[in-house]
Each structure stands twice: as C-alpha cells, then as structure tokens.
Subunit: 228 residues, 2 copies
Amino acid sequence: MTQSAVSFQRVVPPSADGGRKAALPIDERPYHHGDLSRALVAAGRRILEAEGPDALSLRAVAREAGVSPAAPYHHFKDKGELLAAVAAEGWDELGAAIAKARAGAPDPAAAITEIGVAYVVFARRNPALYRIMYRSACDKETMPDHAKAEDSGWGHVAETLVAGGMDPADVQEMLLTQIAAWCTAHGVAEMAGFKEFEPVKEALGGEEAFVRAVLRHVGIMSGRRNAN
Amino acid sequence: MTQSAVSFQRVVPPSADGGRKAALPIDERPYHHGDLSRALVAAGRRILEAEGPDALSLRAVAREAGVSPAAPYHHFKDKGELLAAVAAEGWDELGAAIAKARAGAPDPAAAITEIGVAYVVFARRNPALYRIMYRSACDKETMPDHAKAEDSGWGHVAETLVAGGMDPADVQEMLLTQIAAWCTAHGVAEMAGFKEFEPVKEALGGEEAFVRAVLRHVGIMSGRRNAN
DNA sequence: GCACGTATCTAAGCGGTGTCAAGATCATCT
DNA sequence: AGATGATCTTGACACCGCTTAGATACGTGC
C-alpha cells in the first residue's frame, strides 16, 4: 500500500485508547476499524472489570468497541471464541505473575508456596477474568493451551519440583503433585473470599497471609513424605 | 381446610411425575398447580441432567412444568433464587453422600480420604448440578447454608478431624485444615475430567483410584505434621 | 491510475431470554 | 354469598446470540 493513501482511521492509533471509538462523532468513524479483534478483546476486559462476567455479552463488547453487533463474527467464530481470547490473555498474565513469584523465592520449597500465593492473588484481583479463564477450560475439559505452555504456571511448577529433587522420570508422582498443587490453588482462589473465613484472615493479618497459611498447610513439597 | 373441598388438581399427585403436567390435555390442566415450587425445582434438575447448565432457563423450567413463563415469579424472586433452590437440593444430597462415605471408613484418617472421594465422585456424576451449586456460592462469596449445616460435608470434616485427635478449641488449625481439604476436593472435582490426566487415570486403574491418589497425596490428616 | 476480488463492516431480522404489569381464576375466610 | 388474597396467564419490553444480505474500503494486479 502506498503512503499517499494513508487512511484516516489511523489518526487515532488503535492502541492509544484500547480500540474505543464510540466517542468519535459518527461521521468521523471509519468504516473499517483497523485492529478490531484486538480492540474487541480489550473491550471485553474493560467490561469484565467494570461490570462483571454476566455483563460480558457479544453485543456489549461490540458497543464498547464502537462497532455493529455483527462485526465480531468476522473475527471470532462465536461468543465462546471471543471469551477464549480474553481468557488466553489472562492465562498469559497469570503465567508471568507466577514466573515472577518463582524467581523471587530463595529455594524450591518456598517457590512452590510463592507460586501458589501468586496464583491466588491474581485470581482474587481479577475475579471476573479468572472465572472466564476457568469456565472455558472446564467446558472443554482440557487445560488451556496458554496454561500448559512452557512459561506458564504448570510448567513452572514442574520445573520447581525437579529443582527440588523430584525425579522427572517418575511421571506419575510428578503429575499427582502438580495436580494436587493446582487443585489446592484453584480451590483457595475460589473460596478465599468467603465471609466465613474473615476471622481467620484478620487473625493472620490479611488475606495474603491467610492464603499462605492454607497453602503451607497442604504443604506440597515441604519436606514431608506421604504415607501412601 | 375441609376435606369436602378436595381439589381436582390432586387427581395426579405432584410427586408421581415430578410435577410435570404438560402431557395432560390442555382443558384438564388445573389453573392452579398445587405444588409448583417443588415442581419447578424438579423440572430444573431434569433439564440440568438432560441438557446441561446452559439450557437451564427460567422459561424452559416453566415449560417443563407445564406452566406459563411468568408463573415462577410467584414462587421465586428471580432466576437466581430458583437456581439456589436447585443447588440447595444438591448440597443436601452431597451431604448425605459424604455422611455415608464417612460411616463406612474404619478410622478418621481413612474417613477424610473417603469423604473427599465421595465429594469428587458426586461432582463428577452430577457435573451440571455441581456447577450450579458452586456458582451460586461463589457469586455470594459465602458458603451455602446447606453446605455448612451440621449434617453436611463441612460438618462431617470437622467431626472427623476432632475424632482424629485435633483440638476443636484450636479454631485456626481446624479451619485451615478444613479449608485445605475442601479446596483440594473442589479443585480435583473440577479438573479430574481433564484429558491430560487420562494416562495417569489408566495407570492407576480408573478415575476413582486416580482421585484417591491425588487426595492421599495431599494427605490431610495422614499422620504427617506441617513444618509451618 | 484503474478495476477487481476480498476482507471488513452494517442493517435487518430470527428465535430465545429474564422480567414486569395487568388481568383472569381459584381457594378460603367471614 | 361475597370479599380477599394467592396463584397463574397474557402481553409486552429490552436484551441476547447468531444469520443473511448488502454496503464499503483495502490492496493487489494490470
């Protein structure tokens, strides 16, 4: 494409406001968005944070992106695929948070706990996003691709277990440990907000301390061995 | 009320077919149902089992019960309240399954594992119901009343821990242990179907053995103590 | 520099949903 | 018998996911 034909929809670069164009006067709105799929995902996350997962409709996302209700169908097969794209972003960010937590831990045993804490903290800070993330996974009964990639939570747990002395050839033991760790983190993530636990949280000095206590209580890789 | 005024809508007792009346000729259908709220919950469970949680709409429930779309609003404030009623039934049944599993265990340590297995088995056999159960709990960030009642999962875990020697006065330790157990069971319940775990399940001889292995791996109350 | 194919978007509409307001019907109490 | 309150229906509204048909703009080939 020649530079002479610079298209006017780039006057406001799409990344500047996350793809929102609804504020523009109608006749200044370009027919082609330019980067709609990314803008739709961004709009989805905004709605998610502002109004919760139940408000996340395809039409609302299109509205937020300043586009007709049918436009998203040219970028996503259906609503589920859009949600999966939003969820994928979440899994990536969760993976990054976990990597950071692991890097800051002094030894593998501590790393396992810190990974769990980072997991729960992420889920508690982004509850709507976390629900979307898990819903698409549970529906398909598969771990999301972004969650089992190398630089993801799952991978970091595996590496940490090996660093802590576990034999990577013992696939069964590795898997059982990873599953146990993952399940506990997921459970804590979904239940940590329950009002019944407020007293304990206060006694321990806040929710993060509470989470740490629960995870340590389970004690994945804390030196104990199983009676089997 | 006098017995002389026996109402004709009792000709077919509501429990006989679970409240379904759609099969009756239209002009034989009584204007008043007689036991609609119970029938609606029963209809909800039928739809849940037959078509999954996404098909569980208020209108579908009303249809299944042979009643107009607005009728449920005279018995439930909104859709959420109907779902909560369905969920409550689920929590009761889960409590019963847990009680049974606990009763069949030789000692407290085994009981904890069996309780967990019963929990996961229930969730895996009634996946749609289980999702409804947890959704209404997570939305309100409270344990469902039916789940924390005396003869419920939560109560049975507590009693088992005490029977195993834990000091009930140590509220914090009790709660942390219960939470850890509950979280693990919930996590396993939601992830046990993941395709990635198929090999391990086969190696262990089925899904129930797999669940047992994971739960034992966490080892709530299996004689080990925490490094804390 | 222009035409054409294709990607992108809009408009209109279908059947479905949750929810509400108004009216019909029935059980019961006086 | 008449009034009252509970229960159910009818009809409507706004929103939803999704489809089809047509409009528009981009970029490539000439």
